[in-house]
């Protein structure tokens, strides 16, 4: 038997393993985010071929990608819409795990997952600036003003993340380095830890497992269908709703910009209460999310806290969107 045939036989044997009956569409969400991460990394590497992270060339090079490179607009739009869907699916995955109480006895993996959520937020935040248009510039500058207002550590954070107290060439290069040089490795490391813990701890409690007719081949096939479907959704959105860049970033012409939808809750919070308190509130929210498995030891308490959290986030987002 050739090596290829042997590998195929081994894979087939694995695929024929019976899968737990409870395994359903909800459990595909996590894998689907992994696929979108792969899509983002692939399109991101492609964009790096033509992108130039300097104040003089960033905007022009993005325009060049969108207008002159063959299929450049498509790669750019897939990267942008893929990121939107990625964030959405990560959030749905988090809510799914929370309300299925899948974090029980997997507290560490919950924490890794929340850290991954923060990394995704950092990806979105640093990536937005790179196109260097007015919208990107002023939405990032709004965050700079908030951080500058944080007592004691605010300026130190700015020096580290922005490379100074102003948004300029140094900040653009740093954001680029974070976006393509640092965050991918952090994300890949955390994803590996996340997956290792999943395979180590299993999807279900041993006591819950029942015999079922479905095999892992069925699960993977339906997962594949979702992969193709999500790619189709991203492609459709990319073709039908491409984004026009606004004007080139101009530090002298202020423009009031709303943050993207995924930052609306934080934006609403900062609008609602004074800046320093708002930052503290957002930090508390993240800490609460990290500590969720320990806060909700009782199922009813966990359910109530979850509902309260979602209601609070939704209200803050609505407030931020409205004002």
């Amino acid at each position: 038997m050739s090596a290829f045939a042997r590998v195929r036989e081994l894979l087939r044997a694995e695929l024929r393993q019976p899968a737990p009956q409870q395994l359903n569409t909800w459990h595909i969400l996590g894998g689907l985010t992994l696929w979108l991460l792969f899509l983002e990394i692939t399109t991101g590497i492609l964009l790096m071929v033509y992108y130039r992270p300097s104040v003089d060339e960033a905007y022009e090079s993005v325009l060049y990608i969108m207008n002159d490179v063959q299929l450049g607009w498509l790669v750019h739009e897939i990267h942008r819409w893929g990121a939107q869907l990625f964030i959405l699916l990560v959030l749905v995955h988090l809510v799914r795990v929370y309300f299925h109480e899948a974090y029980r006895e997997r507290e560490l993996n919950w924490v890794v997952g929340v850290l991954l959520l923060l990394v995704v937020g950092a990806f979105a935040f640093t990536g937005t600036l790179l196109v260097w248009d007015q919208k990107a510039f002023w939405s990032t500058d709004a965050v700079r003003r908030v951080i500058a207002g944080v007592p004691l550590v605010g300026r130190a954070i700015l020096y580290f993340l922005w490379g100074g107290t102003e948004l300029g060439a140094g900040a653009l290069l740093r954001f680029y380095v974070f976006h393509v040089g640092l965050l991918p490795w952090v994300a890949i490391g955390l994803v590996m830890a996340h997956l290792y813990l999943v395979s180590r701890q299993g999807l279900f409690h041993r006591t819950q497992l029942t015999r079922s007719p479905q095999t892992y081949a069925d699960v993977i096939l339906s997962g594949l269908i979702w992969v193709v479907l999500s790619f189709g959704i991203v492609l459709t959105l990319a073709v039908i709703f491409p984004r026009e860049l606004s004007d080139r970033a101009d530090p002298l012409t202020y423009e009031s910009v709303k943050p993207p939808w995924y930052f609306l809750p934080a934006y609403g919070l900062l609008r609602l209460i004074p800046k320093a308190a708002g930052v503290a509130g957002a930090a508390l929210g993240v800490l609460g999310l990290l500590a969720a498995p320990w806060l909700g030891r009782n199922s009813w308490v966990a359910w109530g806290l979850g509902m309260l959290g979602i209601a609070a986030v939704a209200l803050l987002a609505a407030y931020g969107w409205r004002w």
Partner: protein, 152 residues
């Protein structure tokens, strides 16, 4: 289940798995083709700001001591014919961004807003500006003047 049905089921399964494999192959080939098209440099439109340039005038259109104001990349630029050669300077004052004017008699550029004064090389002579005017590259090709971004 008799043998014939088993035979039919087997054929259907083979057909479906071939269909799936074929569809995946077509999809992967399509994606790889798209990536190759993306990576293939766009013909004669390679992004290179250093090579971008704009025609200003014929050499004999601007006598020595005269200047011509043009728009380059949306930015006003003074192209000056000096005794020593050509000079292209951004017309945007480095103080508050007003447009500087060329004075043919004194060979200076003056800013109407806050009385900033620059010499014909863009260096500050007087007034509130601290940095010299931005210089652009000038080249003469076949009796015509071109300007482009970057010092020179």
């Amino acid at each position: 289940m008799n043998e014939k049905e088993a035979q039919g089921g087997y054929e259907r399964r083979t057909f479906l798995s071939n269909l799936l494999g074929g569809a995946l192959t077509v999809g992967v080939v399509g994606v790889i083709g798209a990536i190759l098209a993306y990576l293939f440099p766009a013909e004669r439109r390679v992004f290179n700001p250093a090579r971008r340039r704009m025609r200003v005038a014929r050499l004999d259109e601007i006598p020595i001591g005269k200047g011509k104001q043009v728009l380059f990349d949306g930015e006003p630029v003074w192209v000056l014919h000096l005794k020593g050669g050509w000079m292209a300077l951004s017309a945007i004052c480095t103080h508050q961004g007003c447009i500087v004017q060329w004075d043919e008699k004194r060979l200076t550029l003056s800013c109407p807003c806050h009385a900033g004064l620059f010499d014909a090389n863009g260096n500050v002579l007087a007034g509130p500006p601290r940095r010299p005017l931005k210089r652009l590259r000038v080249s003469t090709v076949q009796g015509e003047i071109f300007i482009g971004p970057g010092e020179g």
